[in-house]
Symmetry: C2
DNA sequence: GAAATGACCGGATTGTTATTTTGGTCATTT
DNA sequence: AAATGACCAAAATAACAATCCGGTCATTTC
């Protein structure tokens, strides 16, 4: 059996997927060419089109895999013994840290800022939506357990993510950057406890 | 005394300012030309440069005036008899409604989205900072009066604006739009009361 | 002679055309 | 039957010409 040429179809597919993922992360969506991916994957260009209908579908599949990874990070971080608030903070911290360290997300963010590439923007939005949906699930559970006040889980999850991002990434020039411990304390303060005097 | 030609220098300055304000609001920063402003103001181009060092300074002066208008709207809305939370909501609603109805802000936002014009972006940021600073002042007072829990007024004002915007303008595609009453109720819920069960 | 002006300048922007690149196909090869 | 890469039309880019615009300053106006 010739190991060089006799590879199963699943191997080729995986090879394409991995190569493309690396290329999208390194060069972004539009600067990644199908020719280049084919060459780097050691595969004819036509072969890619037997697995993926077009460049967009190839990209979407890679985003889907990243979302699965983020979910895995969240599941790994989740500790059922801890109260909801602690899990929420741990997960936000871990998931967003992973996201920000991941080459693909970093590159896509830059591409959106710089060129406004619609596909790159769509990918990032899909990631954001999936994070909100994941948190919303746990908010729903927390409400059922009486750990969180009654509210719309989806909207609450959305507000939580926005607040967390307001404290960390965004608006870096409107307030001085906060370290991890400060972010944690402030998030608890603003999001969970509320500003009204008790 | 010839009313057509013998105008005082302050009149000419005001004329330029008003014409330029209308032009920036109608066409945005970069599509407004100094030639066009001079012509529409019935003034030689060189005259503009006796009042303003350059286009940027002219623009900044107009933004400064808009900020003063916003502050006036806020002051007019403020009712010292009302508790802090009510005033905050009324002011946010009034100021942001005024802002969104104001041609200049609308046009600058579009220009930033479309072309990323740095000057337009700078103007919007100045407006946002001034809103946050204004709210921060009142948050400071409310803390002193014991109406709001101890916190950094600037950061709290920033978080309040971000939350309000998250509920209204931004992320329109991540949750269905809310009407004014819902926004009010949700803002009270998320920002003031907090999510923790009491 | 102080204030106002608009012709003028160089750099930036825009419009136009020529050239190259790229996503996707399909006849041919393996 | 699976894989391939030469090929194509459309899209992106480069090259160049023409135009526009912010800012200046010698001249005019009052």
């Amino acid at each position: 059996m010739d190991l060089t040429t006799d590879r199963k179809s699943t191997d080729r597919r995986k090879q394409v997927l991995e190569t493309a993922a690396r290329s999208f992360a390194a060069f972004g969506y539009k600067a990644t060419t199908m020719d280049q991916v084919a060459k780097a994957a050691g595969v004819g260009k036509g072969t890619i089109y037997t697995f993926f209908a077009n460049k967009e579908e190839l990209f979407e599949q890679i985003v889907r895999e990243l979302i699965a990874e983020l979910k895995a990070v969240a599941e790994r971080t989740l500790d059922p013994a801890l109260p909801f608030a602690d899990n929420l903070l741990r997960i936000l911290q871990q998931v967003l840290a992973y996201r920000d360290r991941h080459g693909l997300v970093v590159k896509l963010s830059q591409e959106v800022r710089e060129f406004g590439t619609p596909m790159a923007n769509g990918g990032l939005e899909a990631i954001e939506r999936s994070i909100i949906a994941y948190i919303a699930g746990h908010v729903g559970e927390a409400i059922a357990k009486g750990e969180v006040r009654q509210s719309d889980p989806a909207l609450t999850a959305y507000m939580m993510l926005k607040m967390y991002l307001a404290l960390t990434a965004e608006g870096g020039h409107l307030h001085e950057p906060l370290d991890a411990e400060q972010v944690l304390a402030h998030f608890r303060f603003y999001c969970l406890e509320g500003l009204a005097v008790k």
